[in-house]
Symmetry: C2
Subunit: 406 residues, 2 copies
């Protein structure tokens, strides 16, 4: 007995048959005495179809119109699930972002949720109805439709769970939880029963595709328990929750990788105050997300500056950086898009020494050269040549004995 | 120089290439110094695809969810046209029903427009932008999405033209105007340069598919000049406007037919007060539209009552009517769905006698039996066996010499 928010991804609502499967899971939760709010993505492939249409219409597209277009996919699935639930005798009602009202900023294609009103949904829940809400979309203060970026439906679900003080937010997907690493690469990858918000956040940021990083940030902020499970099986499942004593025993919880990386090096930058700001300000203005940044020790008043970005931003970044590089008197700009980032993550790192050394030596033993290193309290990331990605993941998973439950 | 509302149908926006064709027409009107508001339908076939999905989800569907689903088609086309216009350097902005705000009643699937707010659009027009509005949809006072029924985008366009006091409402379609009859049946059908609101209304109601009847009602009420023309050619076009002297010269302006007819006869109904009301009230309650109603002279306290409905309503009507027939003591209910309605329309009928007689004798000469007759000031309709539809249209078109311009 409580309030449950359930989110289903694109493969779970890919056709009417699968939507009927979702309806059965929703009805089960309802019959167990819960109020149920369902958040849906678009049918698998539909958002890509719409994006292709947008690109056909205009290569450099107007982002407001783009969002208006690609938000239709979720409108279709929420209507269909509501039709099915009503047919099965479970009163349901669909809600779009503007109807709930999920208020966002005006940063089209990657808007951030500013607030979620709960009155409209509470009224329906009080009537015993199931509320089916469009994921991925919101509305700005001028009533324009906005979208939240890839994986945004996760964030919609967590934001709704937070606004409604839900007991749990269940994220149904096509995998049965969070693994120590990608099971497609490591056959002995182990399903985690529990993981802390911080670890999940680092894993999501470091390339694990289970949850959108923002959704984990929100879940942590509002302490929403998030349960990641499979739409197609009742087994497994991973609870993302507050850190507890059990977790601290594990030094490393997971190994992740991200192939969507490109490395830019600005060679021989005069080492003067304000140079870094001049290099990175234009990138920020163009919404280019810079991941790792490394600056070598200065030598005779010059330094090399290296940073990583998403592969899709290479062209624009090169153009912007070459311009500034010229102005500040740097020698040249080098681009390498044959790179990947491999990371190990674990809250236990804080209290265990030697984790980084073990990572570096494990990679070295395989002859894998480390190009860049970045660390946080609970994560160590290395940029390596992309051809070594799978190898690095496998040897690190073995080295930290992740196949064994602690 | 003025304000033009242009509406494009589904075949005009069936793909990006055709949407670019629409963009060129819109830009032409803009470059001629006009403020332009564009109203679009969904891509040809898209609404049918969505209806099929709804039917797969639930045979007896919840109409609110149905409307939420099928209104997505227009959201796609308005976004795409706006993307194309922006790309071509003509600032454009798309608007959904709730954004404009096109307020309707809550009669889902066939909602009526109650009011159109003009401020949001005027603000955009004042900035020099082109406003691209989703046809077919509105929003009720509780923010639920509603749709206006088949052909509803015509009504959206006329309602916007009325609210904005537009100089003209141009309806672009796949035919080049309004003809004296269906050119697919009569090769000598003639394009009308001008037609009165009343004639157009009768023609639309009598089966001509060029405009939704409600759109003509609205145009008449607010005296919006409506210009029907082809998306694919600059030739032709028919102006629907107030009656003028020219028009009165024509006795008959057009011949229409409607094959979507079924005839129901309640045999030997006791001729008592209130019986007709008891028969038709349940139909009204189930939103079944009754077209023609005929009651024979009473014989020994009994009468036969015959009426026509749309073919899609036969099953439900039969069930409802058989129930009441039993209660009021009628002998039986007969259904005939092999019927069609053929009509002649013209404002000149008012001042010309002998038009009806000529229609009946023309049909009689071909051996076509007339089952039912109904007349209005400017229209005469006959229900005949459906196998004679084409023949009837051809001989009537010839008899009234419609191929000749008066």
């Amino acid at each position: 007995m409580g309030l449950v928010v359930q989110k289903y991804g694109g493969t779970s609502v890919a056709n009417i048959e699968k939507i009927e499967n979702v309806a059965r899971k929703v009805i089960k939760a309802k019959n167990e005495g819960n109020d149920v709010v369902v958040v849906l993505s678009a049918m698998a492939g539909e958002t890509d179809r719409l994006i292709k249409l947008a690109q056909q219409a205009a290569e450099d597209y107007d982002t407001r119109e783009y969002d208006n277009l690609i938000s239709t996919g979720e409108q279709v699935t929420i209507s269909l699930l509501s039709l099915v639930l009503n047919r099965l005798g479970y009163p349901a009602r669909s809600f779009l972002g503007f109807q709930v009202r999920i208020l966002t900023d005006q940063d089209y294609t990657q808007a951030r949720i500013l607030g979620v009103e709960d009155q409209v949904l509470r009224k329906e829940l009080e009537k015993g109805k199931i509320a089916v809400v469009a994921g991925f979309q919101g509305v700005d203060s001028d009533n324009n439709i906005t979208t939240l970026g890839r994986g945004g439906s996760d964030t919609s679900a967590v934001a709704l769970a937070a606004a409604l003080s839900a007991d749990v937010c269940e994220i149904y997907t096509d995998v049965d939880g969070v693994y120590t690493t990608d099971p497609n690469i490591c056959s002995n990858a182990r399903l985690l029963n529990k993981i802390s918000y911080d670890e999940m956040l680092e894993m999501a940021r470091a390339g694990a595709k289970v949850l959108q990083p923002r959704s984990v940030e929100l879940a942590k902020k509002f302490e929403v328990p998030v349960y990641v499970k499979s739409s197609f099986s009742d087994e497994g499942g991973t609870l993302v929750t507050k850190e507890d004593k059990d977790m601290e025993r594990e030094v490393v919880s997971g190994v992740t990788y991200d192939r969507d990386q490109a490395k830019i090096t600005v060679v021989r930058v005069p080492d003067k105050a304000g140079v870094a700001a001049r290099l990175f300000t234009p990138l920020a203005e163009h919404n280019i997300v810079v991941d790792m940044i490394i600056q070598n020790a200065s030598l005779e008043g010059y330094t090399d500056l290296t940073f990583t970005i998403s592969k899709k931003d290479v062209k624009e970044t090169k153009r912007l950086i070459e311009e500034v590089a010229k102005e500040v008197g740097a020698a040249k700009v080098e681009v390498d898009d044959q790179v990947a980032k491999v990371s190990i993550i674990g809250v236990g790192m804080i209290s265990h020494s030697g984790v980084a050394a073990k990572m570096f030596s494990t990679l070295a033993q395989e002859g894998i050269n480390i190009m860049m290193i970045s660390t946080s309290e609970i994560k160590i990331s290395c940029v390596i040549h992309s051809k070594y990605t799978e190898l690095a993941v496998m040897v690190l998973h073995d080295a930290f004995e992740l196949e064994k439950s602690s």
